[in-house]
Symmetry: C2
Subunit: 398 residues, 2 copies
C-alpha cells in the first residue's frame, strides 16, 4: 500500500477550466493532493471529451488532463446552478477558469460575484491575451499564441517556414505559471488574510521565456531570428545527421570541445586556430559542423550517442513517442503510470514530474465521467437533503 | 510612487542556480517579492555573465534572469565559505540549485548537510534528467533535453528535419515547474512543519507537456509524429502563406469554419459535403487548406489578420522580436519594463507575466554585480563583525 501523503492536501479548488491550459494547472494541483471540483456544462462537458485519442467513446485527451478531479455537471444558465456555484465558492480556497475574458462575469460568477460570498477567495483567470489590453477579446488557440508570443518566428530554418512546437506548449506554459501564481497567492493569504484575482495570458508567458532573444534586441538593436538548430553563441552545438536520423550535440566551452574532438578521433581540430575558442568556433561553424557530421554520418544515432556519452559530451538522440513510452529513465522516474479508467480501461499516462522526498507521486484517481460526482458534491459538500436534490434533478439543473 | 506590495515578501531563498532553468525559477520568486541571495563562484560567477548580448562587458542574459537578487561571491572550496553557506541555510526557507547531480553533496552543502542545520529547509534541485535513474549523470543542455523529451521529434515537417524550439523552453519549463513545486512545499510546511527535498528534471517536465501525443500511443498503439503546423484533429488549422509571410488560422469547429468561409467570401465551401464536419475537414485538409491559402496569398499578413479578426476567427501574425518589442498588447500589460542597471544602463526587459490584483508587478531592482552584496550579507544577515569580515577578506574567501 503506497503512502499517499501529498503536499496540497486540504486545499480546495473550484475548477471551471477547459481544454489544456487551465486543466494542466488544476491537474498539477490535483496530482499534489488538492481537492478539485471540475464544473462542466451539463450533457456536454469540457470540449476535450471529444478530442482524440478516443476509445469506447471516451477521450484520452480528457482523461490525461483531468485525473484526480471530481466532476459536477450543471446547466450554467439556471439560477439554481449559479447559487450552487456560489455556495461552492464559500467551500473553496481557489477558483480557476479559462473562458474568454468576460464570460464568467456574464454568467454571474466572475471574481466580484464570488468574492462577495468568500472575500478570501483566490481567483485565477487564464486567457490567450489577458483580461486587459487591446487584444483581450481576440479568440485564442495555442497556435495563435505561439505565433504571437514569438515561438514560431524563432523556430525553423532562417530562410524557411516558421514552425510551431508540435505539442501546445503555450497552453502548458500559461497553465503551470498560473499554478505557481496561485500558490504564491495562497502564501500571501496565509500571511495577510487577503485573497486576490490573478490574470495570466498565454502570450505573456510565452514572451517571458524567450531567453536572451528580447534583451538582445533591446540592448544591441539587433533582432535575432530563427536559425535552425544552431545555438546563438556556441559551436559545435546543433543537430547532426547520422546513418539513421539526427543526434543533438552541445559543446558550449573548450573543455567539452576537447572531449568531443578526442572522442571522434579528430584531435587535429584542436590545433586549428579558427576553432581555438568558443566564439571563434561559432564564427566558423560552417566549416566546423561538417567535420563533426562526417563522423556522425558514418554511425547510427545509437552508436554516436554511446561513444559521446562515454566521453561525457552532452549528446542526445531525437526520441519519438515510440521511444519515450519505453524509455528507461522515464520508467525509473515513474513518468509513466498506469491508471485504470472505468471506460478506457488501464493505460499508461505521463506521471507527475515533481518528485518530493516526503510526499508521494504515485497515487492517481482516474478522470471522472461527466457529472460523476453530482450527488456526492451536493450532499456531502453542500449538505443538501434528498428532497432538495430531487427537486434540482426534476428541474434538470444537473 | 508605486505600491510595491508583493505576494512572496518575507520568503527567503538561498540560490545556487546558474544559466537558465534555476535562475528563471528564482527570478519568478524574486519578481514576486522573495528575498534571493544568489551564491556565485568568486571571480567567475554564473556562466551567463559571459553570454550575449554583451554591453560594457556585462551580459544582458545574466541581467534578465537575475534581477531582484543579491549576489554573494565565495570561494566554494574554502571551509569558511561552507560554514557561511550553512549559516545562510539557517536564515533561509528555501534552497534552489541546478548543478549536475552530486555536485552539491561533494561541496558539503547537499540536502542532508543543510537539513542538519535547518530541519525545515525546502531544497529544490533542477537537473537535465533528475537525481535518480540511469541517465542521472548525463550532462544536459536544453537542446539535449528538447531532443530526449519529445519536442524535437514533434516539431517540423513529417519527412523533414526535427527542430528545436528557438528559445530554451525545456529549461523554462523545468524552472517554472520547480517554482510551483517549491510553493507547494511551502504550503505543506505551513500546514505540517515539515521541510523536504524536491527533484525536478528537464526531461520529465518536457514529457509532461506533450499534450495528447503520449496517450495517443498508449491508448491506440499509434505514435503521432511531427506534421508541420497542422493540428492533430482539426482543419483548417495551420499556417498559411500571404504576400509577405505567414499567418496562423485556427478553426476547430463548425462555427469558426462558417465565420471563416463568410469572411473570405467563400460560402460555397460550406456546401461541400467533404467539409461539413471538423473530422471530415481534417480528412480533406489537403484540398481545403489550398482554398484558404488562395485567399491569404492575395493579401498581406496584416490585411488577412485584420479581416479575420473582425470576423472573430482565431488568427495571428507570426510576430518576430522586432514586432514584439513594440507590440501594443505587451505594452498595455507591462510586459516590457525599463530597468536601469549601473553598467548596462537603462533598457527594456520582459516584465513579469503574473498579474495580481492586490500586489504589484512594477518594481524591479537591477541584477547584481558579482559579489555586490558580500559585505551586506555577512554583516546584516549573518551579523558578523568588522574584524571577522576583514579576516575572511584577507583569506580571500570572497
Amino acid at each position: 500500500m503506497t503512502d499517499c501523503k501529498k503536499p496540497l492536501q486540504g486545499l480546495k479548488v473550484l475548477d471551471f477550466t477547459r481544454v489544456y491550459s487551465g486543466p494542466y494547472c488544476t491537474m498539477m494541483m490535483g496530482d499534489l493532493g488538492a481537492d478539485i471540483i471540475k464544473v462542466e456544462r451539463k450533457g456536454v462537458g469540457d470540449d476535450t471529451h471529444y478530442f482524440g485519442p478516443m476509445k469506447n467513446d471516451e477521450s484520452g485527451y480528457f482523461t490525461y488532463f483531468n485525473r484526480n478531479k471530481k466532476s459536477l455537471s450543471l446547466d450554467l444558465k439556471a439560477p439554481e446552478s449559479i447559487e450552487i456555484i456560489k455556495e461552492l465558492a464559500e467551500w473553496a480556497d481557489i477558483v480557476v477558469e479559462n473562458f474568454s475574458p468576460g464570460v464568467m462575469d456574464r454568467l454571474g460568477i466572475g471574481y466580484e460575484d464570488l468574492k462577495e460570498r468568500n472575500p478570501k477567495i483566490i481567483y485565477g483567470s487564464i486567457s490567450g491575451f489577458g483580461q486587459t489590453g487591446p487584444y483581450r477579446k481576440k479568440p485564442a488557440y495555442d497556435i495563435v499564441c505561439q505565433a504571437m508570443g514569438g515561438f514560431m518566428a524563432l523556430t525553423g530554418e532562417k530562410d524557411g517556414k516558421p514552425y510551431k512546437v508540435g505539442p501546445s506548449v503555450a497552453d502548458a506554459l500559461a497553465g503551470i505559471h498560473m499554478a505557481f501564481a496561485i500558490m504564491a497567492a495562497v502564501h500571501h493569504r496565509e500571511e495577510t488574510g487577503e485573497g486576490q484575482f490573478i490574470d495570466v495570458a498565454m502570450m505573456d508567458t510565452a514572451f517571458s521565456v524567450l531567453e536572451n532573444f528580447v534583451v538582445t534586441k533591446t540592448l544591441t538593436g539587433e533582432a535575432p531570428t530563427r536559425n535552425g538548430n544552431a545555438n546563438l553563441g556556441s559551436a559545435p552545438f546543433n543537430t547532426f545527421r547520422t546513418k539513421d536520423g539526427y543526434v543533438a550535440i552541445a559543446c558550449a566551452n573548450n573543455g567539452l570541445f576537447t572531449k568531443l574532438a578526442k572522442a571522434i578521433d579528430r584531435e587535429d581540430l584542436l590545433d586549428v586556430p579558427e576553432y581555438a575558442e568558443n566564439n571563434l568556433r561559432k564564427e566558423h561553424e560552417d566549416t566546423l559542423n561538417p567535420e563533426i557530421e562526417k563522423w556522425t554520418m558514418e554511425r547510427t544515432a545509437e552508436e554516436a550517442v554511446e561513444i559521446l556519452d562515454a566521453a561525457k559530451v552532452p549528446v542526445g538522440p531525437i526520441l519519438g513517442i515510440d521511444d519515450l513510452v519505453k524509455d528507461p529513465q522515464l520508467k525509473a522516474r515513474n513518468m509513466l503510470v498506469d491508471i485504470d479508467h472505468p471506460v478506457l480501461g488501464k493505460a499508461a499516462y505521463p506521471g507527475n514530474p515533481l518528485k518530493f522526498s516526503e510526499t508521494s507521486d504515485l497515487c492517481f484517481n482516474p478522470a471522472p465521467l461527466l457529472g460523476q460526482h453530482n450527488e456526492y458534491i451536493l450532499k456531502e459538500i453542500l449538505g443538501l437533503d434528498e428532497d432538495k436534490i430531487q427537486q434540482l434533478k426534476e428541474k434538470e439543473i444537473f
